[in-house]
């Protein structure tokens, strides 16, 4: 049988079709989630609150100024009413949001850096280092976060318990979960052939981690960062609420703490505790919605789910119609 094509034709790639369909996005662009209504809501929430936190403090009065008009409801002069001591709730809210966001971002960055160090570097290096880092991660994972934070914050004298102290305490107790996730992901990426191929090409370790592995982990890292920010804001609010927060800064948690101390709830002064509570809830919701979109990046199956369901319904309907048609035709026959 001599039905082989000649070698000339055989070693070209021309006759081989490239994958068809619309070109999927890749590289840096592939890291951006697709715009969905949920992502849009999330971004608007985060953007709005961040803008409020950055700009509003310049337009409101002194949040600490005490007036002789305790516990008045919302009015033209004070849109969100006043506290028991006559302080402007809106002004307090502006500064408190700024404080909470600061804490959230600082802790998010610190925790992500720690988890990347212990998760990615350990998993890549393997052997003893991985074992040691894993052990450390696991120890930190089983330490109950909030109680430890309470203990540490309790030990630090009130004067020196500043924003950074609280941030470091929160970061140290919250990086372990993310490190576990990153370690698992790194182990999976590290075992792929392209990592081996770049090692065989002679790439140095740090370059393999930064250039070959890290980009493929970015969605996971982003998701962990967003999660760390939420956790930090909530954690700080919890600490402040029980009076162990940063001494020299105002956050949404301290606002709630004072509202609680001032019996806002029992006095029905909703304008005092609802705004900070709602602010925390909305910001958390915004971050969560963004996180869902990042999840779709990590797990492309989620991304196509909605589209897929729509198509599946259409296909099922068309098929039913066809079946009905053929049965009808047969009945006629």
């Amino acid at each position: 049988m001599t039905n082989l094509a000649s070698p000339t034709a055989l070693d070209t790639a021309a006759d081989e079709p490239a994958p068809s369909g619309r070109p999927a996005r890749a590289g840096w662009r592939s890291l951006l989630p697709t715009m969905t209504p949920w992502l849009a809501i999330g971004l608007v929430l985060i953007g709005g609150i961040t803008l409020f936190a950055v700009i509003a403090p310049y337009f409101v009065g002194d949040p600490r100024e005490i007036r002789d008009m305790g516990l008045t409801g919302p009015s033209a002069e004070f849109p969100l009413g006043t506290t028991q001591t006559g302080q402007d709730v809106l002004a307090q809210l502006a500064f408190a949001t700024r404080g909470s966001l600061q804490i959230g971002i600082i802790v998010g960055l610190l925790a992500t850096a720690l988890s990347a160090l212990f998760g990615i570097y350990g998993a890549y290096k393997g052997k003893v280092l991985d074992e040691a880092f894993s052990l450390l991660t696991n120890v930190f994972l089983v330490i109950p976060g909030l109680p430890l934070v309470i203990v540490i914050s309790g030990f630090v004298p009130r004067e020196s318990r500043g924003l950074w102290t609280i941030a470091v305490v929160l970061a140290v107790t919250s990086w372990a979960g993310a490190a576990r996730v990153l370690r698992a992901q790194t182990l999976s990426v590290r075992s792929r052939d392209y990592v081996a191929a770049s090692q065989v090409s002679g790439e140095k370790s740090w370059r393999v981690i930064v250039v070959e592995i890290l980009p493929n982990l970015l969605p996971v890292i982003a998701s962990q960062f967003v999660f760390a920010v939420i956790a930090a804001i909530l954690g700080e609010a919890g600490l402040s609420y029980i009076g162990l927060g940063a001494s020299n800064s105002a956050t949404l948690g301290t606002m709630l703490f004072y509202a609680q101390n001032g019996f806002a709830l029992s006095l029905g002064a909703w304008w005092w505790f609802v705004p900070p509570g709602l602010m925390i809830a909305l910001f958390g919701m915004g971050l969560s919605l963004v996180n869902f979109s990042i999840d779709e990046l990590i797990n492309p199956k989620l991304k196509n789910l909605r589209l897929h369901r729509k198509r599946a319904r259409r296909a099922a309907r068309l098929e039913r119609e066809l079946a009905r048609d053929t049965t009808a035709k047969e009945a006629v026959r």
């Binding site: 049988m1 039905n3 082989l4 094509a5 897929h308």
Partner: protein
């Protein structure tokens, strides 16, 4: 090669004008007007490369295709042993469940990983039997389970094993045992040996051919490995971009393929014992009709 004699008179499955469409932004026709007849005791090879629609065709025959794939036209008729003809596309869900596995079973691609990892082989065989034969006695279940395992050449003691305790070849055999548990009249096998070593593949192929000879079921064997199909099948259908471009007996297909794609596919496999493919090493195709072409390559 054993050709089922007299089988031509007894078709077990006829597929007429089957078209399967994937509903997406631009609907893709995965199977285009396919016509097939499968006879009792016949091994039908379905050959083609990735994305040619061979798996879609096999799934549609069993109505296992998932939306957004849909059957846009065609008839699939199953001719039962009892003489009754069953229109598969008209079956209601409950009838379809009863039909599948009982009359037509399937070994999926990578089936060896389809076993439930947390239950024993025995439990999985029992569950399948009870689902289709509700009243079956415990003793009958045990006997049947042991029999199918013995048939595929797996030690009966393996009944108590968990899937991870078995090798890949062994798990694949268990899946084949599972597929023949209810004595179906058709078995569709989608790349059942692709992930296995050649020696293990040989064992499984021998088992399939032997079982076909003993039990007289029909097999649809899907693979991209044309030489393997030539070895075991009676008939071979070659698929290209959703169309069955050639349907011939294995010998005729090998000696005298009419479609250029079939010839190209056949030519893609260097011959083990012959000289076909020898030019890879030398760069000169001695068997090529125009040797001058080869030298042009460097120019």
């Amino acid at each position: 090669m054993t050709t089922a004699t007299g089988a031509a008179a007894r078709p077990v499955l006829t597929v007429e004008d089957l078209t399967v469409v994937y509903e997406s932004d631009e609907p893709v026709t995965a199977v285009k007007h396919a016509d097939l007849t499968l006879h009792r005791g016949e091994i039908l090879g379905l050959a083609g490369e990735s994305g040619c629609g061979k798996t879609t065709l096999a799934y549609a025959v069993n109505r296992l295709h998932r939306p957004p794939a849909r059957i846009a036209s065609g008839r699939i008729t199953f001719h039962d042993k009892s003489g009754e003809d069953i229109d598969i596309l008209a079956l209601e869900d409950a009838e379809l469940r009863a039909f599948r596995w009982d009359k037509l079973s399937m070994v999926f691609q990578g089936a060896m990983n389809a076993l439930n990892p947390v239950t024993t082989v025995r439990a999985q065989l029992r569950d399948t039997l009870l689902a289709h034969r509700p009243g079956m006695s415990r003793k009958a279940i045990r006997e049947r389970s042991e029999e199918v395992l013995r048939r595929v050449g797996v030690d009966v003691r393996r009944l108590t094993s968990y899937p991870h305790e078995l090798s890949g070849g062994m798990r694949q055999r268990v899946m084949i045992a599972m597929a023949m548990l209810l004595e179906p009249q058709i078995m569709i096998m989608d790349e059942p040996t692709t992930a296995l070593d050649v020696v293990v593949q040989r064992d499984i192929l021998r088992e399939i051919v032997r079982l076909r000879d003993e039990l007289d079921f029909a097999v649809v064997f899907i693979t991209h490995d044309l030489p393997l199909l030539l070895e075991i099948s009676d008939c071979i259908a070659v698929m290209l971009e959703g169309e069955i471009v050639e349907l011939e007996s294995a010998q005729r297909l090998y000696r005298d393929a009419s479609h250029p794609y079939t010839r190209r596919l056949l030519g893609s496999f260097p011959s083990l014992s012959g000289s076909r493919g020898a030019f890879i090493r030398t760069g000169v195709d001695e068997t090529a009709p125009v040797p001058a072409q080869a030298s042009k390559e460097r120019a």
